[in-house]
Amino acid sequence: MHDITPNASALRSGKRTGLFTGQLNKWHYASGAMALLVAVPLLVVFSGWLQPSTDIWSHLAETLLSQLFINTIKLVIGVGLGVMLLGVSLAWLTARCDFPGRRLFDWMLMLPLAIPAYVMAFVAIGLLDFSGPVQTALRDWLGAGNFWFPRIRSTGGVIFVMVLVLYPYVYMLARTAFLTQGRSTLEAAQTLGYGPLGVFWHVALPMARPAIVAGTSLALMETLADFGTVATFNYDTFTTAIYKAWFGFFSLQAASQLASLLLLFVFLSLMTERLTRKRSDYHDTMRSGQTPRFRFQGWRGWSITALLGLFFSLAFLLPFIQLCLWAFEAVSKELDARYLGLLYHTLVLGLLAALVTTAGALVIGFARRYQPDRLTSITATTATLGYALPGSVLAVGIMIVVTQVDSLIHTLLASLGNPATGQILSGSVFALVLAYVIRFMAVAHGPVETGLSRIKHSLPEAARTLGATPPHVLTKIYLPLLRPGLFTAMLLVMVDTMKEMPATLLMRPFGWDTLAVRIYEMTSEGEWERAALPAITLVLVGLLPVILLVRKTLQDR
């Protein structure tokens, strides 16, 4: 019954030979429209090449570029391995095994997602650097110079912090994948004599590949685009060069050129992964009841509990407590009635962005499913590229497009004899949500697509032959089966939106300050303590959707 091997749809996808098959149809248009939305601001970024900036290039090539490449590669490898290792093993433990406290860890392990990476960075440095409380205490105790302590402001330190905040992407996607793997497949493997490790390695892991890849690519795209975290560490990566070109050399052109290279790299990597995957399919929807978990009892169980407890303290509890302490110091200076407004704006934007982006991702997902040709593959991948650009660069790209549209509207209105204001889109919530959709499409696309890939083609087809209309198939078959994927997508986008800084700063309407804006105002002046209160609030607000998701997936089981 179960087919990890090519099935009917894989046979159909054997048609994928040319750029596309037959005529353009509605799926081409739909995914094309989504791609266009993202492509226009990206083109603005690419247009940086129209103006030469050889001077800056030769300077960078002479001085920094090779080191930046090496640093970036180290970071990508380190973070990639780290998030995969952590994310997958944690997901396996909570989804397929049983040990004391599993139900708690199941959702607690998602919590680090709510901590923005830059916040984690300043907490880690604040705690662990030479002047931090840990090393100070050690010096008082052992005497200066009498002990060895790892340097936190180092390659290892950056990787450590990034893995701690980015592993939840892999964890959440892999967890959903493991949870929805059918009972009989896994049982068959067990009857064939595989132990927990064997089942994991030979069956569950290969079946979860799309999810793991999706999660890891999200983590890596964020790593490549990150500026806040590496800047806090003063660790130079490729994005450092981008910002140096822009803010230092005042050349947005050179910055765009550098950024477009980053984009090209990500695009090619994503396409390559697609091509290596296309021969295999991963359908598996037979959910014949609860799959029994591997039980760890006695000291084995408890040692897993202890290990996860230690990890959770490191990834969430410790930074959270440090933030609370700082927030407590600053609360009288910082907390006022405006926080209600900040909270409201943060939630509204997060919710709107989550809904719209997930709907967009669903469209792309269906296009890929029903029209699996190369054209769709290219448009769909293009639509997810917004996540790979450094936030500020993308924000400016979108800003430029939106202001151009605005000035068109303005001219149009003026010609009708109406001298209205020139900012109908720019500086409205509409433009800001659009920016989030463009930025976070990849985040929603990952879970939605892995969700879709687990639904057999034969199921909706059977429904159609039984006379169900397309809307019926959508609401009665797809949406229920996709529920975990859709919730994961919305949660991820919502949390990411609430943490987002560059686009929010540049495009928020007057007065629409959010918690992230407040954090920026404080951290950019080095006032960590005062930034702690909005950061804590952000973490707490981020917990809401996490808890919601967990309750949902618990019911689904």
């Binding site: 806090t232 003063n234 204001t421 020139g422 109908i424 007057f510």
Partner: protein, 330 residues
Amino acid sequence: MKKTIIALLCLAVSLPIYATDTVTVYSARKEHLIKPLFDAYTEKTGVQIRYITDKAGPLLARLKAEGTNTPADILMTVDAGNLWQAAESGVLSQVESEVLNKNVPAHLRDPDNQWFGLSIRARTIVYSTDRVNPEELTTYEDLADPKWKGRLCLRTSKKVYNQSLVAMMITRHGEEKTRQIIEGWVANLATQPFSNDTKTMQAIAAGQCDAGIVNTYYFGRLQQKDPDVKLALFWPNQDSTGVHVNISGAGITKNAKNRDAAIKLLEWLSSEEAQQKFAALNMEYPVNPAVAPDAVVSAWGNFKGDDLNVAQAGKLQTQAIKLMDRAGYR
């Protein structure tokens, strides 16, 4: 579809057209440092002020993209380099105001009067009172001397404050000598550069190094939090060029819709009435020579500041960054 367009048009037409008594500010100076003044001005004059805050780079990009449609009347940033760049890219306009010319000393505003300093920020030497005898200290340049080997802490060269400082040094000493100084600094570093001034000072206080270069208001904040901190400020280059100063400031945009109201606001910000508060909010120094600094700030003592026009920092910023990159100052 048609209905949507009509609805959109109606919405557009019905949007409020802001009356002339609303001034719009794009500010790279943080909200909590400007809002109290804006509130005071609104209360005094009835003029409404709306603003967004962001980094200077994105704000400038936005101004350029918006062109004639921009709602912004004033661009406010920190660091003369950013203001110089804004003037250079043509988004600011010349302002002839006797009030501003009188209140803002010539070296703290654009030679073409496209922007004006509103507060002075001094970048000076901070040292450990435990391990440094102030007589050891003389100039920024002297921190390159081997006697400081393993004793110096610096903030990253990516911060514009350091870029301005080095740009000024290039103006005084020329490229070659400045590079030797920077190389000397790098050779003396106790640890790799920090991402901010506060961390730099904490490292000095904790004993990782003995001296560093920071903006005075960061020192002020640290002192407020920990009055017993064993650090002190030193005013370097008093026999020569003076302490390196920079500004936060503002200019009127080229396409300002409320130019007159915006100029009035700038004039008020430079006035004796506003200056004390403007500077004190961030423990900076007023630009208006008639206004004394806040008591906390005055307690750090008087100093001679560099009187080279701060626009120089912008002109030589690119050169300064390249020089620091080549000297291995990260």
